[in-house]
Amino acid sequence: MDIFIEAEKIFHIGPFAVTNTYLTSVLVVIIISVGAYLFSRRISETPGRLQHGVEMLLEFLFDFFEKVFGDKERTRKFFPFVCTFFLFILLSNWFGIFPGVGTIGLYEEHNGRTILVPFLRSVNSDINMTLALAVISVLATNIIGIAMIGFFKYASRYINFHGPINFFVGILELISEVAKIISFSFRLFGNIFAGEVLLIVMAFLLPFIVPLPFLAMELFVGFVQALVFSMLTVVFLKTATEHVQH
């Protein structure tokens, strides 16, 4: 059983090492873009079943985020941003369970052992990917907060000289931003990587029928993690764009 936390490198483009998770993420992005483009050309007033399904999903997400945001205006403004997170993470998680991902590859020698290096691997099982998503989410939240409220009003959340307690609360807020990045990335990474390890171990122990409930659980976990990531982004966007009350 070969289980590695680091993603295996497939080839190099100059100094840049292309890992199998990077390949998979590029593939997922291509699937989403091409799918979205082809779908957008077929939109009609009387929806067919596919359009109906997509509309159902987007309406569900919109209502869900609206419940958290409170008002429709902000939901409408930030919906494309947050929904992109949701769709990308959902599709990368589900693509990772796809047959062939993680199993089709080449045998190579590493440190004297022959291990299987798969061509494709679940995208969020690489901490680099989840860290990138977390940094994008937290950074974008802060920048959107600055853009919507104004720089000094937003900075007063972190650097506040109105009293000693507020000063320390400001410093704690700053530390909490870093903690958000860590918690976002580790939550997604831990869930997906642990799921991958679980599937490998189950397939190693008993490859027939028994992995089925675990695959179903992975489907569910992939969906829940995408939902939780986007919902937490929505919550932090809400607190960042809230007008400061004194």
Partner: protein, 75 residues
């Protein structure tokens, strides 16, 4: 004990003990939410998202323990 044995033992103990707190936390959260929904079923759409959010935060702690266990075992 040798290094490898100690490593495996440490990894197992990390996740075993580390999952204890979050499991309690999630159980308490869900039970309070169920109680609240039972008292006032109309408030369910307001309670549910908050419950899911809180459970996600609690589960993240268990995931930290899991990641430390994985690092001990595989790195």
């Amino acid at each position: 004990m040798e290094g490898e044995v100690l490593k495996s033992f440490a990894a197992a103990a990390t996740i075993a003990i580390g999952a204890f707190g979050p499991a309690l936390a999630i159980g308490m959260l869900a039970s309070k939410a169920m109680e609240a929904i039972g008292r006032n079923p109309e408030a369910a759409p307001k309670i549910q998202p908050a419950m899911i959010l809180a459970i996600a935060f609690a589960e993240a702690i268990a995931i930290y323990a899991l990641v430390v266990a994985l690092i001990i075992k595989f790195v």
